[in-house]
Amino acid sequence: MSGICANLVSKQFFTFAEPPHELVLESGGRLGPVTIAYETMGVLAPERDNAILVVHALTGDSHVAGCYTADDARPGWWEIMVGPGKAIDTERYFVICANVLGGCMGSTGPSSLNPATGLPYGLAFPLVTIGDMVTVQKALLDHLGISRLLAVVGGSVGGMQVLAWCARYPEMVRAAIPLATTPRHSAQAIAFNEVARQAIMADPHWCGGDYYEGAKPDLGLAVARMIGHITYLSNESMRRKFGRQLRSREALSFHFDAGFEVESYLRYQGNKFVERFDANSFLYLTKAADYFDLDDYAAGGLAGAFKGSCTSFLVVAFTSDWLYPTEQSRALVQALKRNGLDVSFCEIQSDWGHDAFLLPNERLHTLMAAFLDRIFRETKAGN
């Protein structure tokens, strides 16, 4: 990225659920006040029918695209997909992206101040679910005066929120694009998350989640991130990216420095992550993903979750994604078909593992642009 950015965005905040009208969570717990950080791009049409909610993945934030200042060098996390002339074209659509509940990028989470104590919540923060995240996003849309979304779009944990949206508020969702996601978290995915959480909780600086005054559990969080990164790549992408390449040495060094390129990469990713992310948020968000099972949203199993829906779907999986393999998207597609819903499904050939949905991919770009274009035109035609 160079030059001057023309798509200025700003992080905005919406606060609601002030006591005594706290938000009632799926767990039965209460939380309030709740602040949600969000950004918007594009212009909401006078008919209010061009809004697309983009939902971020596990550790993302509201900064989906654009720049905070004219010389801002840091792009949004989905800059390749969102913006003027992109697949999610902000010259046509009004794009909203909010930081999830339980996050640490401006929305209320375990690092926020607990009004009862004046100190960060830590583990006093209630467990939140994917459904709770969606409830909060719905409150934001009510605040923005948007009663129907043209589309909800998201990958991975964002895709889970897309599905929860369709199950919770079917009448509000004209179309949905769940990417590289699953209708329920598998034992394998839960297992990786549990190892990541254990790494954080085993860090002596974690202190039962009460670390905000002193040193942070950076080592544990970095290891947690390293585990995550392994699941986001694939055997083939690791072979191509790193192979057995050594870092700046001709021969094995015979000690425990990061000798292999892949070790160095993981350490770098881990260390970079702790600068921007809160360890407790990581615990809460991974737990929310683990709890996700669309079967819980209605009687009648997976198909029951979409009863009464008239949403159109574009489901996309990637061949080398072993975190949320294609079969899990197929199970979703099957449930949608059983409800007679309009669904398109494509399994994109890619060697880049789960991460593929965030990488430049001509095919994904074309699929999303064409699907959204169709939905937009059908909506305009009054279908």
């Binding site: 159109s312 574009l314 197929r330 597609v333 099957q334 078909k337 059983r338 007679g340 309009d342 669904v343 398109s344 499904f345 494509c346 399994e347 994109i348 050939q349 095919r363 074309t366 699929l367 064409a370 699907f371 274009d373 169709r374 035109r377």
Partner: protein
Amino acid sequence: MRFDLQIIASWIEPGSRVLDLGCGEGELLQYLKEQKGVKATGIEKHEAEVAACIGKGLSVLQGDFNLEVADYPPDSFDYIIISQTLQQVYEPVALINTLLAVGKKVIVSFPNFSYWRIRLQLLFAGYAPRSTELPYEWYDTPNIRVITLRDFRNFAREKEIAILKEVAINTHRQQQTGNIVRFLPNLRATYGIFLIGSGARHEEV
């Protein structure tokens, strides 16, 4: 559009729900959607073709239609089209039964193996026939079922499937022109196209 697809399109009622199995790049579905206002759905195996369909604004699923089609509730479609593919299906009886449950009517087309040129090849040259419709060697052909128009009629009678409409045509692979064969079709037609329904619906003929 291919000649056989033109005939199939002419059989579809406007505004109906259509499922095309092995829809390729969606040429027929796009035509039906634009010209007849149908609710069009396709199932296609290959990623590039699925992407081409979705790129045209069609609703298409990537997968093996033999498996995918069973997920739909009964009578989900007014027409299910299986064009030039039946000869490649491993379990045609099970598939056709499923199609007749999921769709009200099914349109089946296939190359006619009793076309006179094919007969002559076998008779005089003595090798497994190759033609523009069936251009493969015995070892690489995807066409594992040898069907003639007469075979299909016998099959329908035996399985109590109602043939609601039937046309024999003489055209060649991918050609946009052709003609309908009325005299000695089993000998002279390169393709057969049948509109079928379950036996109970025979009275609709």
